[in-house]
Structure formats: structure tokens, C-alpha cells
């Protein structure tokens, strides 16, 4: 099992190294295949590890291997430890499985790009980093993986390096994630100070169980989770991150990396349970994010941005699940979300690929007639997203919503937000679907649509999307809370839920969620297909994304700019600048005077020597 875990981790790294070192010696096509095959190999290794683990008794399923002491500082030793347990194996399967599909899809999508090799090297690096994050056996390795996925995300968002907007987006994502990394590192410092170790077992056993320190630790970890998962207030980078290639959006900014925050909370749930206030804060922020993102998604006109806000919203659900202590439900939704959100992104990618890179839904309107396959898979993805029975989202999202009801008054408030979010999801998801896929194609779309060998896209793009569509349909049947729940049982030794809804709560929530979701779809139908009611004017507040960017601009940029300008005029110019001018003036004047001594006359220099001797002799005499 440990060997399989190691293979799973190291294969993508090997691919990244080969592609980097090989450079132009690796043919373009081969680069994509190397990356795809290694990621699939990682998936195979994860499957092997999974069955190996399954064959053991539940208590023996946790395996840690330490290859060597990676970092030693004083009395602290941090090993390069891999941890394979029930939680990490699920994450490994999701990351490598969905990852291999998306990398395979990229072979078609990136065909003909100038720098395919760089792209696939980055992709492999990302898969490696993400696997390191989920397999790391201590918090330090987790932080290393955490930083490295941030780096790969930065590199991939900025992949189109000739686009200034892509570079700006990459920097924005990196800076906001760095903020999260910093708070997380601070939390780790506190943990080292109070427990003397960073491996999970010791940390969970020795961490302070209540009080300010416990809250600070949880808060620091939460900061990292919020930044990585694009939750309020560190969310503004995710929509901009859509500047990257679409497979990147699917892999990093939908399926895997952005859900790392959820993984972190589930993995460190003992620390969060020591600080219930912080855990409730996580749930509250998740609820706020899911509502806000849903509202913003209503008015976006860029197809990828709509899906990006939808991602924020769905991760909000996961945060709610993790925040109220329904860990298996959060991980379950993480998994199904990976399926259907990757599906949506990749289907959008087929569209974008076939229509010269256009992303504006007003131009893409009505392409369903031209691209029936894409239309159907997108419909499946949208239904799964809204949570309509029997698609995947129904099972996972509804179980989170139900768990809210079992969490007291606070949970009830969040429950309301969640069902409103379900309604919004219906509206924005089907607004997108109806605008893009129903009706007659626009003249622009007809003109620019081009088939790829008689198909809607390269075969590598179609089969992967088809696979994800199947997963989006059946993936949810893995667990149907009232009747069977193998995932909860599987995860129980590591992440036992502290909130479990009753069957009545499940039925009630599902009923509400489905009805409101369908209502949302109906509203979208009335507005965008039947057009019997005029579309309300898009609210400026939504269009401006609740002014978060403007707020940060005022709070961080403008204030520091004004401060530095003020300091510049008050302090720098007169004091520092004046001092420098004075020094230079003094030096200039004195050197002008002293240069008189350099008159070039040898005899004067001899005189200087003699005078020096006389003075020295005088000093010796006086000092005797």
C-alpha cells in the first residue's frame, strides 16, 4: 500500500522532471502523452492502494511511511512522511482520476499551442503538488504541497504570458494565496510551540483543547483554507484565474486545488473542533460565499466566469458541510463536484475550442444546434450542479443542506441560505444553459464554428467529457444517506461526523432543494426561453461583484499609496533627500578644496612627506 502511494506521488513528478529537462528534445505530442500516462499511472497506483486498504480491517487501514528525515531543526525532526489513510486515499483517487481525464482532454485542447511542453510540465507539477498535499504525513509537508499548488496555479494562470490580463490574474492569485499561506504558517508555528511536532497524531493529541491559542491555530488554518478555496473574504482571485487555459480552470480552479481548503478542514477537524467558534465562522463564511457567488453568477457574461462563480458557490456548500461537522458529506460533495464541475468546464472548453476562443455568452448564443453532444453533456452537468434527482449533485448537496438542520439555530440560519443558494444555482446554471445552447445560433457563431474532422472536437476531448458525464450521472449513487452510506462508514475512523441529520431532515431538505432548484430552472426558462417576462436590469451591485475589488483597492492600495505619498512629501523629500543633497554638496566642496593639494608638483608631495614626518615626530615626542 505504501509503495503504491509512493508511486502515485512520484510518477507525476517524474513526468514534470522529464518534460522540463527534455525540453525541445521531447516531441510536442509525446509531451502530452507522457503527462497523461503518468497521471493515469498515478491513478492506477491509487486504485491499487485503495483495494489494498479495503482488504484490511478498519483499524489497520492507516499506513505511514517515513523515507528520511526531511528537515531537522534543533529538537524538531520532520520526516518526508507519506500518510495513506481513508481520507487521503479518497483525495488521491479524485485528484489522480479527474486529473488524468483532464490532462488527457488537454492533449486535444492544447494541440497546436506554441508551448505545449511547458503546459504539460506545469500540469504534471500541479498533480504532483496536489498529491503531496493530500498524502503528506505531517502539516509541514501539507504546507509544502499547499505552497506548490499555489505556485503551479500561478504558473498555469499565467500560461498565456503575452496577455497582460493573464499575468495580472496570476499575480493576484499568488498574492492572495500567499496571504493564506502566511496565516497557515503562523498556525503551524503555534502548533510547534505548543505540541513540539507537526505530525497529525501528535498534534491532534497535544494541541490545546480550548482557549485563545486553540482559536488562533484554527483561525490561521482557516485563513489558508479560505484563500485556497476562494471563500469570502479572500475570493476575488478565482474569477480572474479564468485567464488560464480551460483545462487548467477545470483541474485546478474547479476540481482539485480550490477544494484543498475543504480537505484541510476535514483533515484537521480535531483542531477545529477545539475552536467551535472558528468552525462556525467557516460555515458562516461558506454560506455567505455561496449566496454572494450565486448572485454574481446571475449577471456574468463570460461563460467561464459564470462557472467560476458557481465553483465558489459550491465550495461554499462544502465549507458549510465541514464547518458544521458533516465531514463525510463535505468530502462527498467535493468528489461529485469534481465530476460535474470538471464536466462543465471541459464542455465549455469544447465550445471555446470550436469557436475561436470566444467566451462571451452573448456571442455564443444558440450553439446547441451546432454541437448536440456538447449540449447534452452540458445539460447533464447543469442538472448535477442544480442537484436534480438522480444526478450526482442531488445526493451530495442535499446531504450537506440536511446536516445544517441538525446543527441548532445557527444551522437553521445557514440552512435557509443553502436552500436559497439552491434556487440561485438553478437560475444561473440554466440561464447559462438556455442562452448558450437553446434557440437559433447567432450569425457570429455560424460563421466561426468549425468542425474538427467532422466532430465537435478532437476525440481526446470528447471521450473524457463523456466519461465525466457518466460520472456526473452515477457518481452520486455512491452514497444515499437515508438508505446506504458506505463513504461515511469508510471515513468514520478518521473523520467521524459530529453532525448527522435524521432521515426526516434529509427528506425535508431534499424536497426543498429540489423544488427550489426546479423553480430556479423555471425562472430561467421564463426569462431566457419563453421570454414572456422581460429580463430585469442586471443589478449593478452584482455586476460589480459586490465591490470587493474596489474595497481592497481602497483599503490596501489607495491607503498605502496615500500614506507613502504623504511620507514622501513630509519625510523623504526634506529629510532624507535634503540629507543626501547636503552630503553630496559637502563632498563636492571639500573635494574641490582638497584637489588643490593634488597640484602635480613632485616637490609639493615631497613637502607633504617631510611635513608628515615632522608632525609624526612631534606626536612621538609629545606622547613619550
Amino acid at each position: 500500500m505504501s509503495t503504491a502511494a509512493w508511486i502515485c506521488l512520484l510518477l507525476p513528478l517524474a513526468s514534470a522532471v522529464v518534460l522540463t529537462v527534455g525540453g525541445t528534445a521531447v516531441p510536442r505530442r509525446i509531451a502530452g502523452y507522457v503527462s497523461t500516462l503518468t497521471t493515469m499511472g498515478a491513478f492506477a497506483a491509487a486504485v491499487v492502494a485503495f483495494f489494498d486498504m479495503w482488504s484490511k480491517a478498519p483499524v489497520e487501514r492507516v499506513a505511514t511511511t517515513t523515507s528520511w528525515t526531511w528537515l531537522a531543526a534543533g529538537q524538531y525532526h520532520f520526516g518526508l512522511t507519506l500518510l495513506a489513510d481513508q481520507v487521503s486515499i479518497v483525495m488521491m483517487l479524485i485528484v489522480s482520476g479527474v486529473g488524468s481525464l483532464i490532462v488527457a482532454y488537454s492533449v486535444g485542447y492544447m494541440d497546436g499551442e506554441d508551448e505545449e511542453r511547458r503546459f504539460f510540465a506545469y500540469m504534471s507539477l500541479f498533480v504532483f503538488s496536489m498529491l503531496l498535499l493530500v498524502e503528506g504525513g505531517n502539516l509541514l509537508l501539507l504546507l509544502a504541497g499547499w505552497g506548490m499548488v499555489g505556485l503551479s496555479s500561478y504558473l498555469l494562470i499565467g500560461y498565456y504570458q503575452d496577455r497582460p490580463s493573464a499575468i495580472a490574474a496570476a499575480k493576484k492569485a499568488f498574492v492572495m494565496n500567499a496571504f493564506g499561506d502566511a496565516t497557515m504558517a503562523l498556525a503551524l508555528f503555534l502548533l510547534i510551540q505548543h505540541t513540539g511536532a507537526l505530525d497529525y497524531v501528535t498534534v491532534f493529541r497535544n494541541a490545546p483543547h480550548h482557549g485563545a491559542i486553540a482559536n488562533l491555530i484554527a483561525l490561521g488554518l482557516l485563513g489558508g483554507a479560505l484563500a485556497k478555496s476562494a471563500q469570502i473574504p479572500l475570493h476575488t482571485w478565482l474569477p480572474d484565474a479564468m485567464e488560464g487555459p480551460t483545462p487548467v480552470s477545470a483541474l485546478i480552479h474547479a476540481a482539485t486545488m480550490v477544494t484543498a481548503g475543504v480537505y484541510l478542514i476535514v483533515r484537521c477537524h480535531p483542531l477545529f473542533e477545539n475552536a467551535w467558534a472558528v468552525q462556525d465562522l467557516a460555515a458562516g463564511l461558506g454560506a455567505a460565499t455561496l449566496l454572494m457567488a450565486g448572485l454574481i453568477a446571475l449577471v456574468q457574461t463570460d461563460i467561464k466566469r459564470v462557472i467560476a462563480y458557481s465553483t465558489m458557490s459550491q465550495i461554499g456548500y462544502m465549507f458549510v458541510g465541514a464547518g458544521i461537522g458533516a465531514y463525510p458529506n463535505a468530502l462527498f460533495h467535493l468528489m461529485t463536484h469534481a465530476f460535474f464541475k470538471a464536466l462543465l468546464f471541459l464542455a465549455a472548453g469544447i465550445l471555446i475550442h470550436a469557436l475561436t476562443g470566444e467566451q462571451d455568452i452573448r456571442k455564443l448564443a444558440g450553439v446547441g444546434k451546432l454541437m448536440p453532444f456538447t449540449k447534452w453533456v452540458f445539460l447533464i452537468g447543469s442538472l448535477a450542479l442544480v442537484g436534480i434527482f438522480p444526478f450526482a449533485g442531488f445526493f451530495s448537496k442535499d446531504s450537506i443542506i440536511a446536516a445544517c438542520l441538525a446543527h441548532g439555530t445557527y444551522g437553521a440560519i445557514i440552512w435557509v441560505a443553502c436552500v436559497i443558494g439552491a434556487f440561485l444555482t438553478g437560475v444561473y446554471a440554466f440561464r447559462l444553459y438556455f442562452i448558450v445552447f437553446t434557440g437559433e445560433p447567432t450569425a457570429w457563431a455560424r460563421e466561426h464554428f468549425h468542425k474538427h474532422h467532422g466532430k465537435e472536437g478532437p476525440i481526446s476531448m470528447l471521450w473524457t467529457v463523456g466519461t465525466l458525464a457518466v460520472l456526473a450521472v452515477i457518481g452520486g449513487w455512491l452514497q444515499f444517506a437515508p438508505i446506504w452510506h458506505p463513504l461515511t462508514t469508510w471515513l468514520d475512523p478518521i473523520a467521524a461526523p459530529i453532525t448527522e441529520p435524521s432521515n426526516f431532515q434529509e427528506w425535508l431538505s431534499s424536497a426543498f432543494a429540489i423544488v427550489l432548484g426546479l423553480a430556479g430552472i423555471g425562472v430561467a426558462y421564463v426569462l431566457y426561453v419563453a421570454r414572456s417576462v422581460p429580463v430585469p436590469q442586471a443589478v449593478t451591485l452584482f455586476e460589480k461583484k459586490f465591490y470587493w475589488d474596489e474595497l481592497y483597492d481602497v483599503v490596501w492600495y489607495r491607503s498605502s499609496d496615500a500614506l507613502s505619498r504623504g511620507l514622501g512629501t513630509i519625510i523623504e523629500l526634506p529629510l532624507i533627500g535634503g540629507a543626501i543633497t547636503a552630503v553630496s554638496g559637502l563632498t563636492g566642496a571639500s573635494s574641490r578644496e582638497l584637489s588643490m593639494a593634488q597640484n602635480g608638483l613632485v616637490r609639493t608631495y615631497a613637502l607633504a612627506l617631510a611635513g608628515g614626518v615632522a608632525v609624526l615626530a612631534l606626536i612621538f615626542l609629545a606622547a613619550r
Binding site: 608638483l601 609639493t604 613637502l607 617631510a610 611635513g611 615632522a614 615626530a617 612631534l618 615626542l621
Partner: protein, 181 residues
């Protein structure tokens, strides 16, 4: 009586060397200055003899007063008569004042030091053996205690010889290139 004679010789030599030194500095024709320096060196050789430095005195007369000064005279003769019209300083006015002040200060300071007797370091001279200052004694010292200084001195001389050759060759080469241009 012998004592008196020593004093007479000493004063004669000291007077000779002071006068010749002043003459070296003040003659406007370098040829006469060089001749005066020979006198100066000879008077100093007498003083060295009085101090028991027989070998140094001989070397002074032969090498210094002989070889080196002949080279000097040769060069002066080669350069021809270039008698200075105004031998004493032009240059900045404070140069003269400063030079006299610095020279006077050094002299005054030495006199003060001698007056203070430098902490009784200037006691009566030691008794010395007959072999003091003989070539044998000096040669023994040169090849034992001061071997390094001896070798370094020889290297300095070698470097100086090479330098002289280079200067001469360089001067000729640049002269020829000037002539071509």
C-alpha cells in the same frame, strides 16, 4: 694627544661633508653638484673609519664615490650643459616657506631628542674587538644572520638593472616611432 687628533679629524670631516652637502644643493650646474657629492661621500667615509666601519668606508669610496658617481657624471656629460637659469624654486610661494618650516622642524625635533638624551640610551660606546667592521666579520653576518636581506638586496639590484634596460630600450623605441611620425 691621540684624542685631540681624533677630534681634529672628526671636525675636518664633518665640516667637509656639511660644506659639500650645501654645495650639492646650491650649485646651479649639476656637474659641479655631482663633484661636490663625491667630496661629501669621501668625508663621510672618513667618519665611517672613525666609527670602525673599515669595510663600509672602503665600499663607500669605491662603489659609491667611484662607480655610482662616475655614472652620474657620465649622464650629466651626456645630457650636455643645461645650467639652470633660476635654480631655486618657482612654483607656489608657500612651497619655499613650507619646505623651510618642515626642514627646520625636523632638525629642531632631532636636537630636542638629543637634548633629552632619549632616556639614557646614548650611553658610552661599548668596547669593541679588533675584528669589528672587517670584511670577514661582515661577510660572516651576511651569510648567516642576514642571508635573506642579502638575497633580497641582490634581487633589488637585478630588478633595477632590468628597469634601466627597459627604460633605455623604451626611450629609443618611442623616439624612433616619433621620428617616423
Amino acid at each position: 694627544m691621540a684624542n685631540f687628533l681624533v677630534w681634529v679629524v672628526w671636525f675636518g670631516a664633518a665640516f667637509g661633508c656639511l660644506v659639500s652637502a650645501l654645495a650639492v644643493v646650491s650649485f646651479s650646474n649639476p656637474f659641479y653638484s655631482a663633484l661636490a657629492l663625491i667630496g661629501n661621500l669621501a668625508s663621510l667615509a672618513v667618519l665611517y673609519l672613525l666609527l670602525g666601519g673599515e669595510f663600509v668606508a672602503a665600499g663607500q669610496v669605491l662603489v659609491y664615490g667611484g662607480a655610482v658617481m662616475v655614472m652620474f657624471l657620465f649622464v650629466i656629460a651626456y645630457l650636455g650643459d643645461r645650467t639652470d637659469e633660476s635654480p631655486w624654486s618657482g612654483g607656489p610661494t608657500w612651497q619655499v616657506l613650507g619646505a623651510v618650516l618642515a626642514g627646520g622642524a625636523i632638525l629642531a625635533e632631532v636636537i630636542v631628542v638629543v637634548g633629552l638624551k632619549a632616556g639614557n640610551l646614548l650611553e658610552q660606546p661599548k668596547h669593541i674587538s679588533r675584528s669589528f667592521g672587517t670584511p670577514e666579520a661582515l661577510g660572516r653576518l651576511f651569510l648567516t644572520d642576514h642571508l635573506l636581506a642579502f638575497e633580497i638586496t641582490s634581487i633589488v639590484l637585478l630588478v633595477a638593472a632590468v628597469g634601466g634596460v627597459v627604460l633605455g630600450a623604451h626611450a629609443r623605441a618611442s623616439l624612433e616611432s616619433d621620428a617616423r611620425a
